[in-house]
Symmetry: C2
Subunit: 315 residues, 2 copies
């Protein structure tokens, strides 16, 4: 079955919009609890009731069923709150209750307040339980032919990978840990994932904006489903010289293909791309005039949805 570009966006930006469907939006919102920290009167994420339930009665946390809030009560500083969150998450991992916690990353993700202050850090694998915004970098690497047409370097994820195994990806993609800047993260990931030399990346990689969306996790993400995962991807383009061939730097990537835009579109329509990588590739096609209003009936909706305004404070 062929997927339209809007189908691909729907898979990635799967949480309803207030603007266009308030009924579905409120029905969804009402199934979650707002994550808060004490003395901060706004949501930092949305937590499923089945997850919130596990926090009931835990020291340092308050669950309010009327207000539908889950509030971290302990800690006055980011360091103190982070310690409490870590203790909670470690304890939850030990019970084995949440599958997502079995893939411990030893990497901290940040949660920001409305004044862009760090409120706390949390172990990466626990972030979808809290429904908080996470940050990443995605790079599209391409080669320009003499006729001006573009070919894209597309990696296939190792089939043994637990999440989205065997699916197509962006040339480089990775999560931004707490305290790391997006461009520095990109330089590091380019080396690790595609063996692209640091000097080349610093010279040639170009920041091109962000792609933001609210993903509702399904089976392919692994672990619990219906967890909300709002994401902000910093997107970069790099035009590679013909003699630079990306090489998998670890066993996470099976191989790299060099495909024309049409070949990439066909693979997208077959549903072979990891959902957020399809979205980032679509953003690339739009910015480069490869997908246009004249060729794409859902152009206006797609461009907006690639840049969703998230309801939580961001970096």
């Amino acid at each position: 079955m062929t997927k339209s570009n809007l189908d691909l966006i729907e898979e990635c930006d799967s949480f309803p919009y207030y603007q266009t469907d308030p009924v579905a939006y409120f029905a969804s919102i009402d199934t979650y609890y707002q994550l808060r920290v004490a003395d901060h009167d706004y949501a930092l994420g949305y937590v499923l009731p089945s997850v919130a339930e596990i926090f009931r009665g835990l020291p340092s946390w308050t669950l309010d069923d009327d207000e539908r809030t889950l509030t971290l009560m302990a800690g006055d500083t980011a360091a103190e709150r982070s310690e409490v969150v870590m203790r909670t998450v470690v304890a939850m991992r030990e019970t084995g209750h949440f599958k997502v916690l079995s893939k411990w990353r030893n990497e901290l993700y940040p949660v920001y307040g409305k004044n862009r202050e760090l409120l706390f850090n949390v172990e990466r694998c626990a972030s979808p339980l809290l429904g908080i915004v996470t940050y990443g970098v995605h790079l599209v690497a391409y080669v320009k032919g003499k006729d001006g047409s573009l070919k894209l370097w597309i990696p296939r994820r190792a089939r043994t990978k637990q999440t989205y195994g065997g699916m197509l990806d962006n040339a480089v993609a990775g999560g931004i840990a707490s305290g790391e800047g997006p461009f520095e993260c990109l330089v590091r990931e380019c080396e690790e994932e595609a063996s692209l030399p640091e000097a080349l990346v610093r010279e040639k990689a170009k920041a091109c904006g962000t792609v933001t969306y609210s993903y509702v996790r399904d089976e392919r993400a692994g672990g619990e489903t219906r967890l909300l995962q709002p994401e902000c991807q910093f997107v970069y383009d790099i035009e590679l010289p013909e003699d630079v061939i990306p090489k998998p730097g670890d066993d996470e990537v099976e191989e790299f293909y060099l495909w024309s835009a049409d070949e990439v579109k066909e693979a997208m329509a077959r549903g072979e791309f990891k959902p957020n990588c399809a979205a980032v590739t679509l953003d690339f096609f739009i910015r480069h005039g490869i997908v246009t209003y004249e060729s794409e009936k859902d152009y206006i909706e797609i461009v907006s949805r690639l840049h969703r305004r998230l309801e939580f404070p961001t970096l």
Copy 2:
């Protein structure tokens, strides 16, 4: 006083967001009436009460103060509805009540339904009274130096122009009339406004997405203030050869400057750009890696707000 890039976005995308400020959003929404057509159960635009009041008792229109809707009751087809709307607007012009109607354009703008069907057309100058989505094209024309740095062609609007007189603009910008495609509109406007040859534009102009926002009209737009004007601009880039110099094709433009990115940023910070042209230029800077996360503290918010999801059906 120096304006930040977020200040510039605020001037253009000035309607509150449900996501980040539901209180302000509902306070704003509640001051408007929803524009509808009969048997279509959703808003096509937001109408100020002072405007809606003038429709009270008019044949073919129903004002419902409880539901806060203004509904066009007559007409089963786009042609029939368009005729009624035209008759209404012509009658309103004759009373001289609305200042915006004094600048009659003899150009029809389309209003679409949820299935992307044309519901009716309306004279361009009346569109802000109805608060409907309007469409346009904006082109950023640039020259690439040997060192890779970009210079932008920036026109200054004639000081005699009634709206935004003397302010800076995008190389080419214009509204898309009903039935016209964005790219064809661009080709026409490039010839009319900047004397750019059709063949060059067809070969070199590149579609780069849309910039969408909800503008609340202020004094500089001319006519009534506080009218809502949601807009969708199709944005294009063109890299011009050094020997192609844009020339004003009519008396709407005073002169063209060729400015470095820094010179453009300074003029933006001085508030010299027409608000939506500042937004389109900012989108260009973001797509070209000239404004980055590392250089712009409001990067994530700005990128999202340049691509607002409008609450009305679009093309």
